[in-house]
Amino acid sequence: MSEVSYKELSVNGLWKNNPAIVQLLGLCPLLAVTGSVVNAMGLAAATTLVLICSNTAVSLIRNIVSDAVRLPAFVMIIASAVTCIELLMQAYAYELYQILGIFLPLITTNCVILGRADGFASRHSLAPACYDGFIMGLGFGLVLVLLGAIRELLGTGALFANMDLLFGPNAANWKLVLVDDYQNFLLAILPPGAFIFTGLIIALKNIIDTQIKQRQDARKDRPVRGAKRVRVTGNIS
């Protein structure tokens, strides 16, 4: 069990190993409920909470459960966490609960959660496991919200509609109408839009990664000032 650095965990969860756009896990909710910011936020919050709970619990029992039965045990833990979250949402955000519908219970089968439980939490102590759950959930949630924002903006010409479903009646007037008299671009809200824009987000991430890599390579290869050329083949390291 190696020492983990929290910085590395954060970079992994948010960017380098982002569950949504690098591991491409949990695509079903990612594609299905990101029609608007509020839906995306609701599901992101629920997923993050489940991730934290399940990672914590799995980490606590990691030395008790034998390898043979670990997966059923993890699934039981995840399912109970999901049920708790579902009941909480039913109590405090009933309308959102109705909108998210089947996708709340389906968090149980979200591969991100089982993946983190088995791949990380079952091998690390409590604090890193808990933090990993939080940061992975955040990485997943940010993509969800970004996608929800793009699709809501292009689909309806407004942002943050119906935020009162999540933040109480005060948030009812948060809706930002960016374009008056907008003709709804239905494709963005329909499932194909989710695929297209997820693909574009992934492409954007790859472009940024390539740029960063090129810049690093350029820095690495810069010749030392005053150095003279030597006849060599290949690179000097």
């Binding site: 003709q183 709804n184 671009f185 239905l186 494709l187 963005a188 329909l190 194909p192 297209i196």
Partner: protein
């Protein structure tokens, strides 16, 4: 074996991409004239504006992909995509509708897949379907043909495109809509009741289709494409219509002639189905490809809920084209069908 019995040099003028595209553009002229005659200047303005947007999008994509601008713009493929999509769209469409369609066609359906030659879907039809799904109201409002309603003049047509709020046009159900929506009449009654149906297949539409047929025949004569796919499509569409048509009731989907001369049949058969990039390439493959499109067009027209079916049918078969090619690869000389040597 039919060998050439002439001595060398066997020089020939191969068709370049840009030449083929120019031929296709030229071949749309009769159809466009017919459309303009019956529906006014809307189609011409659609085409002009679509070409402008298409050149812009193509340049943008080429710059982003770091490709030489001049070389790729000169192949005219963007103009062909723009023209085909503009013809397929209802006349008097607002400018933003055309712009969104062209942007989706050129950027999403063509350049995201790697540009001309790599696109699995026909860009014009992909753009059309994106628009049809996203903006069903605008995409299904066809203006009435000359003879039944006032056809707007040039100024009004410009206004409809660039200042859509102030334009007030007359839209009518197209013949295909009428045929689909009336399930309980005799054909004679239907024809007597609705002047839009014209003589055979819709006032205006029959001439538009004949004009596209003429343009397509010229392309065939110029050997821009082979006869297999278009003929197979028209034949299977007629066959389907003949099978289900009972001769008199409007519930049976219309006669073969009606289907051949209505909607986008001829335009689709000669300008969309023949796309060399997205269709099947082997001869038998083209026959299957065209025939399946014809059958799908009939099915979606009669059973579906959209104004016409050519775009959907073509996109579905675009998906199937590689599979068709896989199973219809011709045997190379000296090899068994199973792949071993003879």
């Amino acid at each position: 074996m039919g060998l050439l019995r002439i001595t060398s040099p066997h020089a020939h003028g191969p068709l370049s991409t840009s030449r083929v595209m120019q031929y296709v553009l030229l071949a749309t002229v009769p159809g466009v004239i017919a459309l303009t005659h019956f529906f006014g200047f809307g189609t011409l303005i659609n085409i002009a504006w679509a070409c402008v947007v298409a050149l812009g999008c193509e340049s943008l994509a080429l710059v982003l992909r770091r490709r030489p601008l001049g070389f790729y713009l000169k192949d005219c493929s963007a103009l062909v995509t723009a023209t085909l999509l503009a013809i397929a769209m209802p006349p008097y469409s607002p400018w933003w509708l055309i712009a969104v369609g062209i942007a989706c066609a050129i950027l999403l359906a063509k350049h995201l897949y790697g540009g001309l030659g790599y696109n699995p879907f026909n860009p014009a039809m992909a753009g059309y379907v994106i628009l049809l799904i996203s903006f069903p109201v605008q995409m299904t409002s066809w203006s009435g043909p000359r003879g039944l309603s006032e056809v707007p003049g040039l100024l009004e047509a410009l206004q409809a495109c660039f200042h859509p709020g102030a334009f007030d046009g007359v839209t009518m159900a197209t013949p295909l809509d009428i045929m689909r929506q009336n399930d309980s009449l005799l054909m004679e009654d239907l024809w007597a009741r609705t002047p839009q149906l014209g003589r055979w297949a819709g006032l205006g539409w029959e001439w538009v289709n004949l004009a596209f047929l003429a343009g397509g025949a010229w392309l065939l004569y110029q050997r821009v494409f082979t006869w297999h796919a278009p003929l197979a499509m028209l034949a299977s569409l007629s066959l389907m219509a003949a099978l289900f048509y009972d001769g008199g009731s409007s519930a049976s989907g219309g006669s073969p002639l009606f289907h051949l001369l209505s909607g986008a049949t001829m335009f689709g058969a000669f300008f969309i189905v023949t796309d060399p990039v997205t269709s099947a390439v082997s001869v038998r493959g083209r026959l299957i490809y065209g025939a399946m499109i014809g059958a799908l067009v009939y099915t979606i027209r009669v059973r579906g809920n959209y104004p016409d079916a050519v775009a959907f049918a073509v996109l579905i078969m675009n998906l199937a084209a590689p599979l068709i090619d896989n199973y219809t690869q011709p045997r190379t000389y000296g090899h068994h069908r199973s792949g071993g040597e003879q």
